[in-house]
């Protein structure tokens, strides 16, 4: 789960990483008052989770409280890359001399936290990594050892700073690592970490992503409904499905993530376009299958629903029952293509054929059929 910038900055403050003074505004009046409090000037930053906020016009500078009021009025309620702006972070303007980069991320292939730092911040780190990897220092932290002073020294040695600034950077790294571990982060990033005109190190932006699987011990975030999700994604989440929206017209349901992805790929291979990815997981009962199928049949973009189930702990008869029920309620003007094999296959196929649906044995044939059907609709 990605945190909003203001949430990430709250965590920074909690861990003694000093951020520029700010307030959160949900109305133009609040933006004006906060700007007043900050000394009359401010930067207004749209609180959205999509990337590329600055280029999309989500960051504005106000020269006066009145201008902050007007800019806030413009920004609040608009959409940035499809995400609604509900609040603004109103922050003191930092006079930036130069920009550094600092992040901690989980490195999958090493199986450890990796600290990345660079004297060249502000830009996209992926670009920098591709263009000039020698400008990034990377230090791995053994998860059983934890972050030690020598790790930190190895990083600060490579960054061009005064001794006093290096000491501050060391503290920031140590505190960011504590936050990273305590909050089960996948990523904690400061980009840019500015050096201001007085030579102070100031985190201008803050990005924190928390591992979804750890939210059971971070209830304060688990409660929050993510603003990134569409209505369909929200409903799918409520039922415990793994669901992703795509832009085609063939709805895809499968049991197991790999199989569902492979089904999507087949649809594309045979010239169709998947509308989504929906994994019902293992052992789904009829009611669960019915909910999944109903969700997609209700979806305005879905013309054909392709269901691919390889029964192991999932029983084909349960799948068939769920599909037939969903079709009764939501099947008008939609076509259903089913591939069903494995546990209780005979019974499942009988239930389907009683409802006038035939099932395929191979996923290749089913995918071809779904693509052919959508073309004549």
């Amino acid at each position: 789960m990605k945190l909003y910038e203001y949430e990430a900055k709250q965590l920074f403050s909690l861990y003694s990483i000093p951020v520029p003074e700010y307030g959160l505004a949900r109305t133009p009046e609040e933006a004006r008052d906060i700007t007043e409090r900050l000394g009359g000037k401010s930067v207004l930053k749209a609180q959205v989770l999509v990337a590329g906020r600055g280029k999309a016009g989500g960051i504005k500078f106000a020269e006066s409280p009145q201008e902050a009021y007007e800019l806030a009025k413009e920004l609040l309620g608009t959409e940035i890359k499809g995400e609604k702006v509900n609040s603004l972070l109103v922050s003191k303007i930092v006079g930036i001399d130069r920009e550094l980069y600092l992040s901690i991320v989980i490195d999958r292939s090493v199986g450890a936290a990796s600290i990345l730092a660079s004297s060249e911040g502000g830009i996209d780190i992926e670009e920098l990594a591709a263009k000039s990897p020698e400008k990034i220092i990377r230090v791995y932290v053994d998860p059983l050892v934890g972050l030690k002073p020598y790790h930190v020294r190895r990083i600060t040695e490579t960054i061009n700073l005064s001794d006093e600034q290096k000491k501050v950077l060391q503290d920031i790294i140590l505190n960011l690592y504590r936050l990273f571990v305590d909050f089960d982060c996948e990523l904690a990033e400061i980009n840019p970490l500015a050096v201001d005109k007085e030579g102070k190190l100031v985190p201008v932006d803050a990005k924190v992503i928390i591992d979804d699987n750890a939210l059971f011990r971070r209830k304060e975030f688990a409660e929050r409904v993510s603003a990134e999700l569409s209505d369909f994604e929200l409903e799918a989440k409520k039922h415990g499905f793994s669901y992703v929206e795509l832009d085609g017209n063939i709805g895809i349901i499968g049991n197991g993530a790999g199989l569902t992805m492979a089904t999507m790929d087949l649809v594309k291979l045979y010239g169709g376009k998947p509308a989504n990815f929906l994994d019902i997981g293992g052992g789904a009962r009829a009611e669960v299958v019915e909910k999944a199928a109903s969700l997609l049949l209700k979806h305005p973009k879905v013309k054909v629903l392709l269901v691919n189930v390889l029964g192991g702990i999932t029983r084909c008869d349960e799948v068939a029952k769920g599909l037939v029920n969903a079709l009764k309620t939501y099947g008008k003007d939609k076509k259903l293509v089913v591939r069903l094999t494995g546990t209780n296959e005979e019974e499942g196929k009988r239930i389907l054929s009683d409802a006038g649906i035939s099932a395929f044995d191979s996923m290749e044939d089913a995918a071809k059929n779904a693509v052919a059907l959508v073309k004549v609709m």
Binding site: I106, G111, A113, D142, S242, V244, A262
Partner: protein, 292 residues
């Protein structure tokens, strides 16, 4: 010879009294796996399908010294504890079925297992099967048959799909292992390629990959670097997956510019691996490479 599990595999089931644990204990017993003990703290003295239940892995191991393998069905908040207990009780191979374990936890116990010389399969995996000898996992046994193909996969049902095609093609499997769909797993593709390399029964290997991370690229690099002697066939799921979205598995996400299917397929093909465009095609390609 097979890989990691065989006729001498003696299993303790951690979390045996739960719904999943008891269901799959029966399925493993039916398959012929030697399930000799189960563990659920506080439920010692009970039995599940004739398998005695103990309060701790220590107790199970002291009563049944032949135990060398554990399969864990414990829910995610308690699973790390179960893993550490298994490691310290002297288990050699741990199959960790549990999904949704926080990655900071798995990072630590996987590192600890490596230092102690213990093999972890998973988390978030279907387990491992050496057909005809032992099944330590949740896969449907009937889609597998004894044969000469080693399978290593990041997926569950997709593995069954491809294994079934291999079975129908008359080739069968020496050992099939689902290493798990999480970002960080115990055994990885290279670990398994190394083991299959030394296994006499394995004549060809199938890699089943998916989007996310760079495990497939690393496997490709390994195959090229050591000039891997046995033929390798691969399938990679997620060619149509959009970047930044998690496709079911915690590890199946294209992020920070890495993990897309095309880059994996390119890397594998550059190392001489035949990459199938559909699951069924894997069996066809295997027949081709094994003929030559």
């Amino acid at each position: 010879m097979t890989v990691l599990v065989d006729k001498n595999t003696h299993v303790v089931v951690q979390g045996i009294t739960g719904r999943e644990g008891s269901f799959h204990t029966k399925a493993m017993l039916d398959y012929g796996t030697k399930v000799v003990a189960g563990v659920t703290p506080g439920k010692g003295g009970q039995s599940v399908y004739g398998v005695p239940v103990y309060d701790s892995v220590y107790e199970a191991v002291s009563k049944h010294p032949e135990i060398n393998t554990s399969i864990i069905f414990v829910p995610s908040p308690y699973a790390p504890d179960a893993v550490y207990e298994a490691i310290e009780a002297g288990i050699d191979v741990i199959v960790l079925i549990t999904e949704h374990i926080p990655v900071h936890d798995s990072m630590r116990f996987i590192r600890y297992a490596k230092l102690r010389g213990v093999s972890i399969i998973g988390p978030n995996c279907p387990g491992i099967i050496s057909p005809g000898e032992s099944k330590v996992g949740i896969m449907p046994g009937h889609v597998f048959s004894k044969g000469k193909v080693g399978i290593v996969s990041r997926s569950g049902t997709l593995t069954y799909e491809i294994a079934y095609a291999i079975t129908k093609a008359g080739l069968g499997q020496s050992t099939a292992v689902g290493i798990g769909g999480d970002p960080i797993t115990g055994m990885n593709m290279i670990d398994m390629l190394e083991r299959f390399r030394e296994d006499d029964e394995t004549e060809a290997i199938v890699l089943i990959g998916e989007i996310g991370g760079d495990m497939e690229e690393r496997a490709a690099e390994y195959i090229r670097r050591i000039n891997y002697e046995k033929p390798v066939v691969a399938f990679v799921a997620g060619r149509t997956a959009p970047p930044g979205k998690r496709m079911g598995h915690a590890g199946a996400i294209i992020s920070m510019g890495t993990g897309d299917a095309e880059s994996k397929i390119r890397a594998l093909e550059a190392s001489g691996v035949k990459v199938a465009s559909t699951p069924v095609e894997v069996a066809k390609l295997l027949k081709d490479v094994l003929k030559g």
